[in-house]
């Protein structure tokens, strides 16, 4: 697939292609930036022919805050809390990515306790992210009930975060060299309670939404992207796995405690909205499986290996680390001059930025109604696109 770079004006002025027997006129319509189905301030310019979408042009930058630039003026420890604000539904994994990059560069060896708690926390975060997505997908497709159920179950997990960390969404918990706090004494019991509570709820999700024939018809064979298209667009995460590529960094390049646990990677076979839907629901189940294996044997040990007062100065050169967030591969790239506490350059390879461009490949020559299902099945968090 060739990549074509053009300005917005050039793309708008391209004349209509193909045969046009009815002699209809193509027109443009703005979807967003303020639109409930775009999950934030994402603007999509739609080239329409009646109800048929000829082209989707995502226009970004409406929530650009310059996080990468601010990161150049902050220490690595301070930068961690900004990554919460990118993909706020996988805040813990974003923190972990920065920590992983720093630890890789400093060659810090972590103990098992830190790795276990990080893994459990990241999986809880993945579950709550997918639960929220599940509810929002239902709402986008016209069913309001799943939204309430998804939020209800997600609250149980955010309560665990609140008890141990003190925050529910932007947590700043995983720090370079360890964790901000030790886990709360109630943590293990609460996690077990949530597993016992939420596992039957997943079956309820299946009955309510997955098994519903209307939802199946809305999702099946809608917004198909092939494995080849997906890989050439740089799509990662559940969207890529739904196309049949089993690329999951937790398995392919294990970090944390993922090397010690047994779980299966959910993949699709066609790459349509249904596969993306099912992959995420199955990932909730697999995440519960990972937590169940780890929660009973968290080893003892310190939870912070580096003193907060000690300066973190990375060796000169560029450093990179990546991990699998709830939406795909997040990579953190930093260049250090070897002298100062602040990085010279920070770049984030954010999963949503790469995933959002696949919406054009999915929606071409489909209907407007399917576009909403496509955006919803991509599970976009817009602040992560613009950063």
């Amino acid at each position: 697939m060739a990549v074509k770079i053009s300005t917005l004006e050039e793309r708008i002025s391209v004349p209509a292609e193909g045969d046009n027997p009815l002699n209809t006129q193509e027109y443009f319509i703005n979807m967003g930036p303020q639109h409930p189905a775009t999950h934030g301030v994402l603007r999509l310019m739609l080239k329409l022919d009646g109800e048929t979408v000829r082209e989707v042009i995502p226009v970004l930058g409406y929530i650009h805050r310059g996080i990468e630039k601010i990161g150049e003026h902050q220490t690595y420890r301070q930068f961690v809390h900004l990554t919460d604000r990118c993909d706020y539904l996988s805040a813990m994994m974003n923190n972990w990515a920065v920590s992983l990059m720093v630890e890789k560069a400093m060659q810090t060896q972590l103990n098992d306790r830190i790795e276990y708690i990080r893994t459990i926390m990241a999986e809880l975060e993945r579950i709550q992210s997918h639960m929220l997505w599940w509810g929002v997908l239902g709402m986008d497709l016209g069913a309001f009930t799943p939204f309430l159920y998804g939020f209800r179950d997600r609250e149980m997990i955010t309560d665990i975060f609140e008890e141990t960390i003190g925050c529910r969404l932007t947590m700043n918990y995983i720090q370079p060299g360890g964790l901000m706090d030790d886990i709360h004494p109630n943590f293990v019991k609460r996690v077990k309670d949530v597993i016992a509570y939420a596992k039957p709820k997943i079956d309820e999700y299946e009955e309510l939404l997955s098994g519903n024939v209307i939802i199946q018809e809305r999702l099946r064979n809608v917004g198909t992207i092939t494995a080849e298209q997906a890989t050439s667009l740089g799509v990662t995460g559940p969207v890529l796995r739904a196309s049949g590529v089993a690329l999951d960094l937790r398995r392919v390049a294990p970090y944390g405690a993922y090397g010690q646990v047994d779980f299966e990677v959910a993949v699709g076979s066609v790459g349509d909205c249904w596969d993306r839907y099912w992959v995420r629901v199955e990932e909730i189940r697999q995440s519960f499986r990972i937590i169940e294996q780890l929660i009973d044997n968290i080893p003892a040990g310190k939870t912070m290996l580096s003193k907060p007062a000690k300066k973190i100065i990375l060796p000169e050169g560029s450093h990179y680390a990546q991990l699998e967030t709830a939406r795909g591969i997040l990579g953190i790239y930093a260049v250090s001059d070897g002298k100062s506490e602040n990085p010279v350059r920070i770049h984030m390879r954010s999963p949503n930025y790469h995933n959002v461009w696949s919406v054009d490949a999915m929606t071409r020559n489909a209907r407007i109604g399917d576009l909403v299902a496509n955006i919803s099945s991509l599970d976009i968090v817009v602040p992560d696109i613009d950063r």
Binding site: Q74, R77, Q78, F79, H81, L82, D84, T145, R152, E155, E162, E163, T164, I165, G166, C167, T170, N172, Q175, M180, D181, H184, E204, E206, E207, L208, L209, S210, G211, N212, V213, I214, Q216, E217, R220, A242, V245, A246, L247, D248, R251, V252, F263, E264, V265, A266, V267, G268, S269, V270, W274, D275, W278, V279, E282, P308, A309
Partner: protein, 241 residues
């Protein structure tokens, strides 16, 4: 098209990415080819699925015990936050209202967005640097906990007050210390040595919550009551320097 039975048609197998073997489960699809069902079966399964989904909804309707909603303003008396909840920043004080903070600036350095501003002064009695004013800007604070982590004297904590909304932007800039003066450590040391304790305690000056620099230069606004400060003329400058 056919109906997708999510319980039955999941397949597990092993694929490879690079050289790594990976166990995968493949998403269920509707039966096709030789397995495809008749139209009547599809219609029956589809209609049944609607009723199964409706059963879940009705189940919650007739079981009010599963309701998790909290009636917030009504339950204010009984509402209890978790003990690590990050509400509002405050200084730890002992029973005599003496604080642990000695104005060492570590939290100001650790703060990623300049929400903490600390002014120090030198005490005329024991010649030590001490806290003059601890200014915390709630309006720019991101509740990242970096100040508590950096504090070497265990001087900061979070309160569980989450109702921080105010009508006036000036009210979001707090002076956290009640007094400008020596920390509890210096007072205890002086008491132990019995060295000019009374004089040391006399150097304490009261600080009001809304003294010091505030947004809009703390000026009066129509319809908003004036801020209560310790010294309205020049409340930002320390006395002894």
């Amino acid at each position: 098209m056919g109906y997708i039975d999510t319980k039955k048609s999941t397949k597990a197998k092993v694929t490879t990415v690079g050289n790594t073997p990976i166990n995968v489960v493949i998403a269920p699809r509707s039966p096709s080819g030789a397995d495809s069902e008749s139209l009547l079966t599809t219609i029956f399964k589809s209609v049944k699925s609607l009723f199964v989904g409706m059963k879940v909804t009705i189940g919650y309707l007739v079981r009010p015990s599963t309701v998790v909603t909290q009636q917030y303003p009504e339950n204010r008396e009984t509402l209890k936050m978790f003990d690590r909840f990050r509400g509002q920043l405050r200084l730890i004080k002992d029973e005599n209202n003496y604080m642990n903070c000695n104005g060492c600036n570590f939290c100001e350095i650790a703060c990623p967005n300049g929400s903490i501003v600390i002014t120090d002064q030198r005490n005329p009695v024991n010649e030590k640097l001490e806290l003059e004013r601890f200014l915390w800007r709630l309006d720019s604070c991101t509740f990242c906990n970096a100040c508590l982590q950096a504090c070497p004297h265990d001087a900061l904590e979070w309160s569980d007050g989450f109702e921080a909304a105010v009508y006036d932007r000036r009210l979001l800039v707090y002076t956290l210390n009640d007094y400008a003066g020596p920390p509890v450590k210096a007072i205890n040391r002086a008491k132990k040595k019995e060295d000019r304790v009374e004089e040391l305690l006399a150097t304490m000056e009261p600080r009001k919550q809304y003294g010091g620099p505030v947004p809009l230069a703390g000026r009066k606004m129509p319809g908003v009551p004036a801020l209560e400060t310790e010294n309205t003329k020049d409340n930002a400058s320390p006395k002894h320097k």
